[in-house]
Symmetry: C2
Subunit: 181 residues, 2 copies
Protein backbone atom coordinates (compact mmCIF):
# COMPACT_ATOMS: atom_id res chain seq x y z
CA UNK A 1 0.00 0.00 0.00
CA UNK A 2 1.29 3.43 -0.96
CA UNK A 3 0.27 6.37 1.22
CA UNK A 4 0.51 10.08 0.44
CA UNK A 5 0.91 11.85 3.79
CA UNK A 6 0.01 15.53 3.93
CA UNK A 7 0.78 18.09 6.63
CA UNK A 8 -1.41 20.91 5.28
CA UNK A 9 -0.44 24.57 5.28
CA UNK A 10 -0.49 27.48 2.85
CA UNK A 11 3.01 28.81 3.61
CA UNK A 12 4.55 25.34 3.92
CA UNK A 13 2.73 22.14 2.98
CA UNK A 14 4.53 18.88 3.78
CA UNK A 15 4.07 16.01 1.31
CA UNK A 16 5.44 12.52 1.79
CA UNK A 17 5.03 9.16 0.07
CA UNK A 18 5.56 5.95 2.06
CA UNK A 19 5.14 2.33 1.03
CA UNK A 20 4.09 -0.47 3.38
CA UNK A 21 3.76 -4.18 2.84
CA UNK A 22 7.30 -5.58 2.56
CA UNK A 23 6.78 -7.11 6.00
CA UNK A 24 4.64 -6.69 9.12
CA UNK A 25 4.90 -3.06 10.22
CA UNK A 26 7.57 -2.32 7.63
CA UNK A 27 7.38 1.08 5.94
CA UNK A 28 9.72 2.72 3.44
CA UNK A 29 10.03 6.30 2.31
CA UNK A 30 9.52 6.92 -1.40
CA UNK A 31 9.58 10.73 -1.45
CA UNK A 32 9.27 13.74 0.79
CA UNK A 33 9.05 17.45 0.11
CA UNK A 34 7.63 20.76 1.20
CA UNK A 35 5.61 23.02 -1.11
CA UNK A 36 6.10 26.66 -0.19
CA UNK A 37 4.09 29.69 -1.25
CA UNK A 38 4.70 33.31 -0.40
CA UNK A 39 2.25 35.70 1.22
CA UNK A 40 3.27 38.21 -1.47
CA UNK A 41 0.83 36.41 -3.77
CA UNK A 42 -2.96 36.28 -3.47
CA UNK A 43 -4.61 33.45 -1.54
CA UNK A 44 -6.10 32.21 -4.81
CA UNK A 45 -2.74 32.14 -6.60
CA UNK A 46 -1.16 30.29 -3.68
CA UNK A 47 -3.96 27.71 -3.64
CA UNK A 48 -3.69 27.26 -7.42
CA UNK A 49 0.05 26.63 -7.13
CA UNK A 50 -0.51 24.12 -4.32
CA UNK A 51 -3.24 22.37 -6.29
CA UNK A 52 -0.88 22.04 -9.27
CA UNK A 53 1.83 20.57 -7.03
CA UNK A 54 -0.64 18.13 -5.45
CA UNK A 55 -1.65 16.98 -8.93
CA UNK A 56 2.01 16.48 -9.86
CA UNK A 57 2.58 14.32 -6.76
CA UNK A 58 -0.56 12.27 -7.39
CA UNK A 59 0.43 11.72 -11.03
CA UNK A 60 4.05 10.90 -10.27
CA UNK A 61 3.61 8.63 -7.25
CA UNK A 62 0.10 7.22 -7.82
CA UNK A 63 -0.74 6.62 -4.12
CA UNK A 64 -3.51 4.23 -3.02
CA UNK A 65 -4.75 6.47 -0.24
CA UNK A 66 -4.18 9.91 1.32
CA UNK A 67 -3.43 10.41 5.00
CA UNK A 68 -4.12 13.98 6.11
CA UNK A 69 -3.28 15.70 9.38
CA UNK A 70 -6.51 17.09 10.77
CA UNK A 71 -6.54 20.60 12.16
CA UNK A 72 -8.69 21.52 15.11
CA UNK A 73 -10.39 24.87 15.21
CA UNK A 74 -9.59 24.84 18.90
CA UNK A 75 -5.94 25.36 17.91
CA UNK A 76 -7.03 28.91 17.12
CA UNK A 77 -3.83 29.88 15.33
CA UNK A 78 -3.93 32.69 12.75
CA UNK A 79 -3.34 30.16 9.99
CA UNK A 80 -6.37 28.01 10.81
CA UNK A 81 -8.44 29.37 7.93
CA UNK A 82 -5.79 28.97 5.24
CA UNK A 83 -4.83 25.53 6.57
CA UNK A 84 -8.48 24.50 6.28
CA UNK A 85 -8.44 25.77 2.67
CA UNK A 86 -5.41 23.58 1.90
CA UNK A 87 -7.10 20.59 3.58
CA UNK A 88 -10.07 21.25 1.32
CA UNK A 89 -7.79 21.07 -1.73
CA UNK A 90 -6.52 17.69 -0.53
CA UNK A 91 -10.08 16.37 -0.14
CA UNK A 92 -10.92 17.78 -3.57
CA UNK A 93 -7.87 16.24 -5.25
CA UNK A 94 -8.70 12.89 -3.63
CA UNK A 95 -12.30 13.01 -4.87
CA UNK A 96 -11.16 13.93 -8.39
CA UNK A 97 -8.69 11.00 -8.32
CA UNK A 98 -11.06 8.50 -6.70
CA UNK A 99 -8.91 8.19 -3.57
CA UNK A 100 -10.00 7.93 0.06
CA UNK A 101 -8.76 10.46 2.59
CA UNK A 102 -8.10 9.37 6.16
CA UNK A 103 -7.63 12.12 8.72
CA UNK A 104 -5.63 11.88 11.92
CA UNK A 105 -5.30 14.44 14.67
CA UNK A 106 -1.78 15.56 15.64
CA UNK A 107 -2.20 13.58 18.88
CA UNK A 108 -3.07 10.40 16.96
CA UNK A 109 -0.07 10.85 14.67
CA UNK A 110 2.32 11.41 17.59
CA UNK A 111 0.91 8.44 19.51
CA UNK A 112 1.22 6.20 16.46
CA UNK A 113 4.81 7.11 15.70
CA UNK A 114 6.28 7.67 19.18
CA UNK A 115 3.91 5.83 21.51
CA UNK A 116 2.76 9.04 23.21
CA UNK A 117 0.36 11.75 22.06
CA UNK A 118 2.39 14.31 24.03
CA UNK A 119 5.61 13.82 22.02
CA UNK A 120 7.43 16.97 20.91
CA UNK A 121 8.60 17.72 17.37
CA UNK A 122 12.12 16.42 18.06
CA UNK A 123 10.76 13.05 19.22
CA UNK A 124 8.51 12.75 16.16
CA UNK A 125 11.40 13.57 13.82
CA UNK A 126 13.70 11.16 15.63
CA UNK A 127 11.21 8.28 15.47
CA UNK A 128 10.32 8.93 11.81
CA UNK A 129 14.01 8.85 10.97
CA UNK A 130 14.50 5.51 12.76
CA UNK A 131 11.28 3.85 11.56
CA UNK A 132 12.02 4.69 7.94
CA UNK A 133 15.74 3.91 8.30
CA UNK A 134 16.80 7.33 6.98
CA UNK A 135 20.43 8.46 6.97
CA UNK A 136 19.45 11.99 7.91
CA UNK A 137 16.56 13.46 9.86
CA UNK A 138 14.00 14.97 7.46
CA UNK A 139 13.91 18.78 7.49
CA UNK A 140 11.98 21.03 7.95
CA UNK A 141 9.43 19.90 10.55
CA UNK A 142 6.66 19.96 7.93
CA UNK A 143 8.49 17.22 5.98
CA UNK A 144 8.86 15.08 9.11
CA UNK A 145 5.18 15.67 9.97
CA UNK A 146 4.06 14.59 6.48
CA UNK A 147 6.13 11.40 6.82
CA UNK A 148 4.69 10.82 10.30
CA UNK A 149 1.06 11.09 9.14
CA UNK A 150 1.90 8.77 6.23
CA UNK A 151 3.48 6.20 8.56
CA UNK A 152 0.52 6.59 10.93
CA UNK A 153 -1.90 5.45 8.24
CA UNK A 154 0.43 2.78 6.87
CA UNK A 155 0.58 1.25 10.35
CA UNK A 156 -3.18 1.50 10.81
CA UNK A 157 -3.50 -0.36 7.52
CA UNK A 158 -1.10 -3.02 8.68
CA UNK A 159 -3.09 -3.35 11.88
CA UNK A 160 -6.31 -3.74 9.91
CA UNK A 161 -4.69 -6.33 7.66
CA UNK A 162 -3.49 -8.25 10.69
CA UNK A 163 -6.95 -8.11 12.23
CA UNK A 164 -8.51 -9.29 8.95
CA UNK A 165 -5.99 -12.13 8.71
CA UNK A 166 -6.63 -13.11 12.33
CA UNK A 167 -10.39 -13.06 11.72
CA UNK A 168 -10.04 -15.20 8.58
CA UNK A 169 -7.86 -17.64 10.51
CA UNK A 170 -10.44 -17.78 13.30
CA UNK A 171 -13.27 -18.37 10.81
CA UNK A 172 -11.26 -21.20 9.19
CA UNK A 173 -10.63 -22.74 12.65
CA UNK A 174 -14.35 -22.57 13.53
CA UNK A 175 -15.31 -24.03 10.14
CA UNK A 176 -12.82 -26.88 10.64
CA UNK A 177 -14.18 -27.46 14.17
CA UNK A 178 -17.75 -27.48 12.76
CA UNK A 179 -16.80 -29.96 10.02
CA UNK A 180 -15.09 -32.22 12.61
CA UNK A 181 -18.13 -32.17 14.93
Amino acid sequence: MRVLGVDPGLTRCGLAVVDSGSGPGRVAMVAVGVVRTTSARTTGDRLAYLQDELDVWLDRFDPDVISLERLYVADHVPTVMTTAMVSGLVHLAAARSGLEVHEYTPTEVKASVTGTGRADKAQVTSMVTRVLGLDQAPRPADAADALAVGVCHAWRGVGAHRRAAAAASERARLAAAGAAR
Copy 2:
Protein backbone atom coordinates in the same frame (compact mmCIF):
# COMPACT_ATOMS: atom_id res chain seq x y z
CA MET B 1 -19.69 46.15 -13.14
CA ARG B 2 -20.95 42.65 -12.55
CA VAL B 3 -20.37 41.11 -9.12
CA LEU B 4 -20.63 37.47 -8.08
CA GLY B 5 -21.59 37.46 -4.40
CA VAL B 6 -20.83 34.32 -2.41
CA ASP B 7 -22.07 33.30 1.04
CA PRO B 8 -19.81 30.27 1.52
CA GLY B 9 -20.91 27.01 3.08
CA LEU B 10 -20.61 23.30 2.33
CA THR B 11 -24.22 22.35 3.10
CA ARG B 12 -25.65 25.51 1.54
CA CYS B 13 -23.62 27.96 -0.53
CA GLY B 14 -25.40 31.13 -1.61
CA LEU B 15 -24.50 32.52 -5.05
CA ALA B 16 -25.77 35.78 -6.48
CA VAL B 17 -25.01 37.94 -9.49
CA VAL B 18 -25.70 41.67 -9.34
CA ASP B 19 -25.01 44.41 -11.87
CA SER B 20 -24.21 47.99 -10.99
CA GLY B 21 -23.70 51.01 -13.17
CA SER B 22 -27.08 52.00 -14.58
CA GLY B 23 -27.03 55.00 -12.24
CA PRO B 24 -25.35 56.16 -9.02
CA GLY B 25 -25.93 53.51 -6.39
CA ARG B 26 -28.21 51.51 -8.68
CA VAL B 27 -27.89 47.74 -8.52
CA ALA B 28 -29.91 45.02 -10.27
CA MET B 29 -30.19 41.33 -9.61
CA VAL B 30 -29.16 39.06 -12.48
CA ALA B 31 -29.34 35.69 -10.75
CA VAL B 32 -29.48 34.09 -7.33
CA GLY B 33 -29.29 30.51 -6.13
CA VAL B 34 -28.15 28.15 -3.42
CA VAL B 35 -25.91 25.16 -4.09
CA ARG B 36 -26.67 22.35 -1.64
CA THR B 37 -24.64 19.26 -0.85
CA THR B 38 -25.50 16.43 1.52
CA SER B 39 -23.40 15.17 4.39
CA ALA B 40 -24.10 11.65 3.08
CA ARG B 41 -21.27 12.25 0.59
CA THR B 42 -17.57 12.66 1.35
CA THR B 43 -16.13 16.12 1.92
CA GLY B 44 -14.13 15.72 -1.30
CA ASP B 45 -17.19 14.82 -3.37
CA ARG B 46 -19.11 17.77 -1.91
CA LEU B 47 -16.25 20.16 -2.69
CA ALA B 48 -15.95 18.77 -6.23
CA TYR B 49 -19.67 19.35 -6.83
CA LEU B 50 -19.43 22.87 -5.47
CA GLN B 51 -16.38 23.61 -7.61
CA ASP B 52 -18.27 22.41 -10.71
CA GLU B 53 -21.22 24.66 -9.83
CA LEU B 54 -18.92 27.64 -9.25
CA ASP B 55 -17.37 27.05 -12.68
CA VAL B 56 -20.85 26.92 -14.25
CA TRP B 57 -21.78 30.25 -12.66
CA LEU B 58 -18.50 31.88 -13.71
CA ASP B 59 -18.93 30.62 -17.28
CA ARG B 60 -22.60 31.57 -17.55
CA PHE B 61 -22.51 35.00 -15.92
CA ASP B 62 -18.92 36.11 -16.56
CA PRO B 63 -18.60 38.40 -13.50
CA ASP B 64 -15.95 41.15 -13.27
CA VAL B 65 -15.20 40.52 -9.60
CA ILE B 66 -16.10 38.21 -6.72
CA SER B 67 -17.40 39.47 -3.38
CA LEU B 68 -17.02 36.87 -0.63
CA GLU B 69 -18.39 36.86 2.89
CA ARG B 70 -15.44 36.42 5.23
CA LEU B 71 -15.73 33.94 8.08
CA TYR B 72 -14.09 34.60 11.41
CA VAL B 73 -12.52 31.74 13.31
CA ALA B 74 -13.87 33.50 16.41
CA ASP B 75 -17.34 32.43 15.26
CA HIS B 76 -16.28 28.97 16.40
CA VAL B 77 -19.21 27.14 14.83
CA PRO B 78 -18.84 23.46 13.91
CA THR B 79 -18.95 24.38 10.22
CA VAL B 80 -15.98 26.78 10.37
CA MET B 81 -13.55 24.31 8.79
CA THR B 82 -15.78 23.31 5.88
CA THR B 83 -16.80 26.92 5.31
CA ALA B 84 -13.10 27.83 5.08
CA MET B 85 -12.66 25.02 2.54
CA VAL B 86 -15.45 26.47 0.40
CA SER B 87 -13.93 29.96 0.71
CA GLY B 88 -10.68 28.41 -0.53
CA LEU B 89 -12.49 27.06 -3.61
CA VAL B 90 -13.80 30.56 -4.33
CA HIS B 91 -10.28 32.03 -4.09
CA LEU B 92 -9.00 29.21 -6.30
CA ALA B 93 -11.73 29.67 -8.94
CA ALA B 94 -11.02 33.41 -8.97
CA ALA B 95 -7.29 32.85 -9.47
CA ARG B 96 -7.95 30.35 -12.26
CA SER B 97 -10.28 32.87 -13.94
CA GLY B 98 -8.08 35.92 -13.35
CA LEU B 99 -10.66 37.60 -11.10
CA GLU B 100 -10.10 39.57 -7.91
CA VAL B 101 -11.79 38.48 -4.69
CA HIS B 102 -12.93 41.11 -2.19
CA GLU B 103 -13.86 39.87 1.26
CA TYR B 104 -16.30 41.51 3.64
CA THR B 105 -17.12 40.53 7.19
CA PRO B 106 -20.78 39.88 8.05
CA THR B 107 -20.76 43.16 9.99
CA GLU B 108 -19.51 45.10 6.96
CA VAL B 109 -22.16 43.50 4.75
CA LYS B 110 -24.97 44.29 7.19
CA ALA B 111 -23.74 47.87 7.68
CA SER B 112 -23.52 48.39 3.94
CA VAL B 113 -27.00 47.11 3.18
CA THR B 114 -28.97 48.19 6.26
CA GLY B 115 -26.91 50.99 7.76
CA THR B 116 -26.13 49.01 10.92
CA GLY B 117 -23.71 46.17 11.56
CA ARG B 118 -26.09 44.78 14.17
CA ALA B 119 -28.96 44.13 11.73
CA ASP B 120 -30.69 40.74 11.95
CA LYS B 121 -31.36 38.39 9.06
CA ALA B 122 -34.91 39.72 8.54
CA GLN B 123 -33.60 43.29 8.16
CA VAL B 124 -30.91 42.21 5.69
CA THR B 125 -33.47 40.27 3.61
CA SER B 126 -35.92 43.18 3.73
CA MET B 127 -33.31 45.74 2.60
CA VAL B 128 -31.92 43.47 -0.16
CA THR B 129 -35.47 43.01 -1.46
CA ARG B 130 -36.08 46.79 -1.53
CA VAL B 131 -32.68 47.80 -2.91
CA LEU B 132 -32.92 45.31 -5.77
CA GLY B 133 -36.62 46.04 -6.38
CA LEU B 134 -37.59 42.36 -6.05
CA ASP B 135 -41.23 41.23 -6.05
CA GLN B 136 -40.52 38.59 -3.43
CA ALA B 137 -37.98 38.31 -0.63
CA PRO B 138 -35.15 35.94 -1.61
CA ARG B 139 -35.21 32.61 0.21
CA PRO B 140 -33.45 30.90 1.95
CA ALA B 141 -31.27 33.23 4.04
CA ASP B 142 -28.14 32.05 2.19
CA ALA B 143 -29.58 33.47 -1.05
CA ALA B 144 -30.32 36.82 0.62
CA ASP B 145 -26.83 36.85 2.17
CA ALA B 146 -25.19 36.20 -1.21
CA LEU B 147 -27.17 39.09 -2.72
CA ALA B 148 -26.22 41.29 0.25
CA VAL B 149 -22.48 40.65 -0.11
CA GLY B 150 -22.81 41.27 -3.85
CA VAL B 151 -24.60 44.58 -3.26
CA CYS B 152 -22.03 45.47 -0.59
CA HIS B 153 -19.21 45.29 -3.13
CA ALA B 154 -21.23 46.92 -5.90
CA TRP B 155 -21.81 49.90 -3.62
CA ARG B 156 -18.18 50.02 -2.55
CA GLY B 157 -17.28 50.08 -6.24
CA VAL B 158 -19.71 52.89 -6.89
CA GLY B 159 -18.20 54.79 -4.00
CA ALA B 160 -14.70 54.28 -5.40
CA HIS B 161 -15.85 55.40 -8.84
CA ARG B 162 -17.36 58.51 -7.34
CA ARG B 163 -14.18 59.24 -5.43
CA ALA B 164 -12.13 58.69 -8.60
CA ALA B 165 -14.46 60.97 -10.56
CA ALA B 166 -14.27 63.60 -7.83
CA ALA B 167 -10.47 63.35 -7.79
CA ALA B 168 -10.29 63.67 -11.57
CA SER B 169 -12.58 66.69 -11.44
CA GLU B 170 -10.41 68.26 -8.74
CA ARG B 171 -7.23 67.64 -10.77
CA ALA B 172 -8.88 69.22 -13.82
CA ARG B 173 -9.90 72.24 -11.71
CA LEU B 174 -6.36 72.64 -10.35
CA ALA B 175 -4.86 72.24 -13.83
CA ALA B 176 -7.26 74.87 -15.15
CA ALA B 177 -6.39 77.17 -12.23
CA GLY B 178 -2.68 76.56 -12.91
CA ALA B 179 -3.11 77.35 -16.62
CA ALA B 180 -5.04 80.54 -15.78
CA ARG B 181 -2.39 81.73 -13.27
